[in-house]
């Protein structure tokens, strides 16, 4: 095939221009800024300044710990739930499929601010509907936002509510691409539905599950709006502060761009590590 450099780059030019200005340069710049002391005018080059602070900063380790804790609990729960939703929505026995799809997929269109407001109100101590319902079955109220554990739970519940259906949509598309005759053959051989799920569906779905898991991990790793709005700036007392929130606080409240850039690069490092794990998990068997 002959090369058509001029034509191809004419089509790519606007896109690559936006990329260069708003992504390529910032990626480099962010790295450079992380080696500068940015609270003096003018900024000065000080290689150990931010990174040195990072490894000794309890606020950073607190945010890292919270972020990893949310990741380790919320992502597996949500992915499992999304698989269950997708498999059941795909069942030929299901009636009123449209209603069920609406129920699980609707949160996908709800904005972060809107749903943060609702969850905050639902989990209110004295007048929240959740505590009222707990009381009505004889259970005591929970002070959701004054203690770290329930506050973390609310964030995980909210994020799971918002994103489980999104992942279910992707998984459902994957399920529907599995050829039906595989299941027919298994049914003829009297393989139970449960066994079919574990020995046919899960292995064939694995690359898509890993894809969903990686996107979810990277999304959750940058979690910002939920601890910002639902638990009131990472409260109680920084108990739900995430890396995303710490970056916001350092970068845009304290205007400490150098330190915030070091935090950003730590997040990028984590993301790269996770992507490598994904490549390794979905590698072609030799």
């Amino acid at each position: 095939m002959r090369y058509q450099n001029a034509t191809a780059y004419r089509f790519l030019a606007p896109y690559l221009l936006i990329f260069s200005i708003f992504w390529l340069w910032p990626i480099i710049d962010s790295f450079l800024i992380s080696f500068q002391a940015t609270r003096t005018v003018p900024w000065r080059f000080a290689p150990g300044f931010n990174w040195g602070r990072l490894i000794g900063d309890p606020a950073f380790f607190n945010a890292l710990k919270n972020t990893l804790l949310i990741l380790v609990i919320q992502v597996p729960v949500m992915i499992t739930l999304a698989i269950v939703m997708a498999v059941l929505l795909n069942s030929p026995l299901l009636k009123a499929r449209g209603l069920f799809r609406f129920a699980f997929f609707a949160p996908v269109v709800v904005g972060e601010v809107a749903y943060s407001a609702v969850f905050r109100l639902m989990f209110n101590l004295d007048y929240g509907i959740i505590n009222k319902l707990l009381n009505s079955v004889g259970l005591p109220s929970i002070d959701w936002f004054s203690n770290v554990t329930p506050a973390m739970a609310v964030i995980m519940i909210a994020v799971t509510w918002r994103w489980a259906g999104y992942n279910a949509i992707i998984l459902l598309a994957g399920l529907q691409s599995i050829p039906q005759d595989v299941y027919e053959a298994a049914t003829l051989d009297r393989v139970s539905k449960v066994k079919q799920f574990f020995y046919i569906t899960l292995p064939l779905l694995k690359p898509i599950i890993v894809f969903c898991a990686v996107l979810s991990i990277i999304g959750t790793m940058q979690l910002f709006t939920e601890p910002f709005l639902i638990t009131e700036r990472g409260g109680p007392g920084g108990g739900t502060e995430t890396l995303g929130l710490l970056l916001y606080r350092q970068g845009f409240r304290s205007l400490n761009f150098g330190y915030a850039s070091a935090i950003a690069y730590t997040m990028a490092g984590l993301a790269i590590a996770i992507s490598l794990v994904q490549l390794w998990l979905t590698r072609e068997p030799k």
Partner: protein
Amino acid sequence: MSSRSSSSRSSARLGRSIALHLFLTPLALIWLFPLWMMVIFSTMPDRGIFSPSIELLPHGNFLDNVTNLQRGTNFIGAIGISVSVAVTYTFLSVLLTSMAGWALARYQFFGKGIVAAIILGTITLPYAVVLIPQFIMVARDFKLANTWVALIVPPLFNSLGVLFMRQAFSMMPHELFDAARVEGVKEWRIFLFVALPLARPMLAALAIILFLASWNNYLWPLLINSKPGAMTAPVALGTLIGLTKVSWGGIMAGAVLLTAPMLVVFVLLQRHFIAGIAAGAIK
């Protein structure tokens, strides 16, 4: 014998069907609950929201709540900004990503591997890495804070959209395009008048997803357009959450105004919506 086994099979089927619905119905109700409560709260006066009784049915206070909200922050104006920005963004982004997708699907060119690697590589890169320099550049160097340009242009880079359109174009019969070229039709005309009309369903899916992303975008607009008259609707609503003297009925009315139009679009265009997300068009 054979009829007995088939009837036992059909009763097993019935049992499985009942179990399926018994499990899925409560789960669906739990999932709808926050949305339902959003609607209920938006129709209640504040003294009703903050009362000890359990209220699960709508009241008649929605318009009063909207009025309260409008008094606290110019929410209707903010919605106007959000709509204009989302429409412009969607149009430009669909155009840019389809052009790039077309180039990758149709031409052989120097550096193609690098361009493809950039697009794949940025999918899993956290946005946090570009956030700070982007902010410094747009606010300080370009002096564009609190403008529409700041809201529209930086988010135009979207790698999953390009992959989606590349896929769409490469599934089309290339003989069609080659025939047009033999006729002497220019490449940009082939793109505009042959390829794009053929890609209409994919463009619709992409447009819906991009519109939604722009409509709900929070972090970037929060940082770059923080002046009251320049805020988008989610940012304006977010400023009220956490204030002590604030109408929660009003906040909920705002949440409904942000969510309801998207739910309608979702119901009407479900197929395109799901196609767009299933292709991983955006996160």
